[in-house]
């Protein structure tokens, strides 16, 4: 879902960049204040995993592939602000080194996959486990949160394309949401499996309060 340069109008780029700069600045401030020392290597591991897993495009219907996004995984483990920071690191490296996602579109990509992905998944996960805090509820919650996060990110992406005049809303919005509703199933499975593995091996990493404000 990395938007290349050319898809977005100048005004869309400007608005998305301003929102992203604000979001990342907030993330820097809050993560700096709240992140525990034990969580510092976890930031590195999550960014490394999300990058590596994003390379593994999996086939979905009709000659289309999808790849892991990872914002939900990061946000569920470390909170939405740390999720924004991790996704920003991944997206900046992908843009500058791997030419995946446009330079001017970086702000929009951070907004969609970083900010919208992290915050939506975090709060949906929290809402679900507020009803039932069992391990199974956490796994179901992580699946649902991951699915919603990638679908919302794709809807935001579609709206940006529509506002930019690249494609009409009535065409691009259902197309993007439809494809990512399928990709979201795999997104949810990956997040849930990784969380299940962490629960089994190092549950203490999930116990410390995630970074929230």
């Amino acid at each position: 879902m990395h938007i290349p340069d050319g898809f977005l109008s100048t005004s869309t780029v400007a608005v998305a960049s301003v929102i992203s700069i604000g979001g990342v600045a907030g993330a820097v401030k809050i993560v700096g204040k709240e992140l525990k020392e034990k969580q510092v290597p976890l930031m590195g591991v999550l960014a490394a995993f999300i990058f590596a897993a994003q390379m593994l495009n999996f086939p979905i219907a009709g000659g289309t592939s999808g790849h892991f996004m990872g914002a939900a995984l990061a946000a569920i483990i470390l909170g939405p602000w740390a999720g924004v920071l991790i996704m920003t690191c991944v997206l900046i490296a992908q843009c500058l080194i791997f030419q995946d996602g446009g330079l001017l579109a970086l702000g929009a990509n951070i907004l969609n996959m970083g900010i919208i992905g992290s915050f939506s998944s975090y709060y949906i996960y929290r809402l679900i486990i507020s009803f039932n805090n069992s391990r199974n509820a956490k796994l179901v919650g992580s699946f649902v949160a991951s699915w919603v996060a990638i679908v919302l990110a794709s809807i935001a992406c579609a709206l940006e394309l529509a506002i930019s005049g690249s494609s009409p809303t009535s065409i691009v919005l259902p197309a993007m949401a439809g494809v990512h509703a399928l990709i979201g199933i795999v997104e949810g499975l990956i997040t849930t499996v990784v969380l299940r593995v962490i629960m089994a091996s190092r549950a203490d990493l999930l116990e410390s309060q995630p970074v929230t404000r």
Binding site: F7, L35, F51, M55
Partner: protein, 105 residues
């Protein structure tokens, strides 16, 4: 062993990167929509290329080039996010440390 959990985790990430040549080469969700709905030609190429398309330049074997790109990227991301998190928390460590050391008694 317990203190090295992140090293084991990083190894797992590198193993994931090694599987990258198996990735589907079909267009992803956005690329597919852009092709089907006729706006893919709006995309501009990047003004510079470093490890474009996750293929490390100058390596004949494409699988090896992809694995190399994946390993480099995974290590960069680990270092980058670890470094950012360390820097952000290091200023706080100094702040919480100073009152104790500056105490005049």
């Amino acid at each position: 062993m317990k203190s090295k959990w992140w090293l084991i985790s990083l190894l797992i990430c590198l193993i994931v990167a090694i599987f990258s040549p198996l990735a589907s080469s079909s267009p992803d969700g956005l690329e597919r929509v852009a092709e089907d709905k006729g706006f893919i030609e709006l995309a501009n190429d990047a003004p510079f290329q470093i490890i474009a398309d996750y293929v490390f330049p100058g390596i004949e074997n494409e699988a090896v080039a992809t694995i190399t790109a994946g390993i480099i990227g995974t290590l960069i991301l680990f270092g980058l996010a670890y470094g950012v998190a360390w820097l952000l928390t290091s200023s706080r460590r100094k702040q919480t440390y100073q009152p104790a050391s500056n105490r005049k008694d």
